[in-house]
Structure formats: C-alpha cells, structure tokens
C-alpha cells in the first residue's frame, strides 16, 4: 500500500513538472543565441546543407564519438550476456526451429540488396537530407535481421562484423586526429575541400565521418541481433 502511494506521488509530481511544457511554455518564438549561431554559421563554416548534421558531426562531434562508444559498450554487454555457455545451452544441439515461409525467404532475397543500398544512400546523403550514419546503420541492420529471420540456422560472420566495426571506429578517430593536425581542431571537417553547398561531394569530411558512423552502427546493431538469437559460442 505504502509503495502504491509513493509511486502515485512520483507520477503525479512528474505530471505537475511536465504540465507547463505540455501547455507550450518554454517554447521560444525564435531559436536561442546558440541555435541562431549554428543556423547562420553552419553553411559558411562547413558547407553542410543539413544544420543538424553539422551539429552532430562537427560542432558537437566529440559528444557523438562518446555516444558511439556507449553503443559499443552496450553491444559488448549484450554479446557477453547471451553466449551459449552463459545461457546454459552448452553444446546441446539446438531444437529444430521451424523453417521460414517461402514468402519470407523470397522477399529476403529481393530486399536485402535494396535495404543495404538504401542504408548506404541514407548515410552518404546525411549532410544534404534528413538522414545520417545512425539512421542508415539501423536500415542496414534491418537487412541482416531479414536474413536471420529467413535462415534461422545461419550465423553472421563474427570476424567480418568485428573487422568492420573496429576499422570504422579507428578510422573515425583517425579523421578526428586529422582534423586536429591539418585543420583547426579535433573532428574539424575542413581537412577536405568544402565544395558547393548541396552537392554530394561537399561539407569537407562530414560525409566520410558519417559513413564511418553508419558502418559502425550497422555492424554493432547486427551484432546485437546475432547475439539475441542466443546461439553464440
């Protein structure tokens, strides 16, 4: 009983705290000073048409590196928890899983290539359109999820996944260091020519960094999906 009262009080208190936000107070008429500076300077500084991408990859690029590290830690945790040994399955033969339907198998064959291509498109155009490495990486992981659903007994190649993940992570840090030594700061995209705003090859190293993030996120989420199957050695 006491616990119910406490839970009710916590939820009611939070509701009272959120009420002003829900009523639209605190929403400004114009962006604040920092946001205005980003909006005005991003096209000139980095030649990126998408200001959100300029913030994520360049202005706050160090935070994004940290978030990719958090994602890596979570993936490593999932992989460590869900091994066959830890789950107590041991070397026992897995129970026969029902085969996937023909519709799923055929659709997987048709869609896998398209999904990977779409994911690559999303992260290559992250500096021009709403998209980027995180979204593109998730789309690539869905392609691998389809493959796992269509062939439940198949196993993702661990070596390839780790190679893609560690190489793209190292290249990400390498691009950051290149910015520190060749341009004005860590992760500064001005190591490559900025180009014309709106063209595919523009915004310095932003598309390169976002593609690396996309590959890393795709490999990490695929690793999570593979681990969630629960038959890792």
């Amino acid at each position: 009983m006491m616990r119910r009262v406490l839970v009710f009080l916590a939820v009611a208190g939070l509701a009272a705290a959120l009420l002003p936000l829900a009523l639209g107070t605190g929403v400004p008429e114009a962006p604040g000073a920092l946001a205005t500076a980003y909006l005005e300077d991003a096209p000139g500084d980095f030649g990126a048409a998408n200001v959100v991408t300029a913030i994520v990859v360049s202005y706050r690029g160090f935070d994004t590196l940290g978030e990719v590290a958090v994602l890596f830690a979570a993936t490593a945790g999932v992989g460590a928890f869900l091994t066959r040994k830890r789950l107590g399955i041991g070397d026992a033969e897995p129970a026969d899983k029902p085969a996937a339907t023909e519709i799923l198998v055929t659709a997987t064959g048709l869609l896998t290539g398209l999904l990977v291509m779409f994911g690559v498109y999303i992260f290559l155009h992250g500096h021009l359109t709403p998209g980027g490495g995180f979204q593109g990486g998730v789309v690539i992981a869905t392609a691998l999820l389809l493959g796992l659903l269509a062939r439940p007994e198949s196993k993702l190649s661990h070596g390839i996944l780790s190679a893609v993940e560690s190489l793209s992570g190292a290249a990400y840090v390498g691009m950051g260091l290149a910015g520190a030594f060749l341009a004005w700061g860590f992760l500064d995209p001005r190591v490559l020519p900025l180009g014309r705003i709106g063209s595919l090859v523009s915004a310095g190293s932003i598309p390169v960094i976002y593609s690396l993030i996309g590959l890393k996120v795709g490999a990490e989420l695929s690793g999570i999906l593979d681990a969630l199957k629960g038959d890792r050695e």
Partner: protein, 126 residues
Amino acid sequence: MSILEFVSRINPVAASGAVLVLVGVWGVLARPNLFKIAIATSVLETGVNLVILSTGYIRGRTAPILDSAADASTAAARMTDPVPQALVLTAIVIGLAVTALQLSYAVRLRAAGGGSSIESYGDEKW
C-alpha cells in the same frame, strides 16, 4: 479560461511525450516483471525524446536544412531550433542498444534459474 481555450494551448508533441513519460515511469516503478520494466524504459525514452523535440519546434518554420525554402541568409529567421533535434538523433539509437542490454540481462537472469519478477531478487538490494 474555457475548456476550448485550454485545449488549443496544448502542445501536441509535448503532451503526448509527457503521457509516454508518465506511463514509462509508472511501469518502471510499479511493475515487478523485468521484461516489462525494460519495455517501460523504452516507452519512457520515447516520451523524453518527444518532449525534448517539442522544445525546439517553432510554429510555421521549416526544417533546419538549406533548400529552396530557406537559404543561408534567411536560415535563422525561417528554421526551427536544430539543437534538440541533434540531441534526440543519437539518443534514439543509444536507447535501442540500452533496451537490448536490459532485455539480455533479464534473459540471462532467467536462464540462470531466477524468476522474471524483480521481487525474487530481494537479496540483491543494497
């Protein structure tokens, strides 16, 4: 203040986000099942993301991407606040990975012979 006036002042994104936050907090605090706690955290995250996004939305403005609707000179006058969007963008993927970690922890506890209810781990309390 009439009811109609009150309803018209509600920010739909922030209000739905606030509802999700409350549902998520209630789920985390009141449900004993570990899997439900993980899903409640996921709902809570979605709500928080919506609330953060709503603080940057300015009515009548366009997305912070340079195109025919707004060029570099009019960007600050015609675009919404890009900072909350940049914050939420990465938080969504992190949230997904954290949910996966929570669920795998719960699966691992189950596999080791524990229950799915958080009540059965009373001796883990500090």
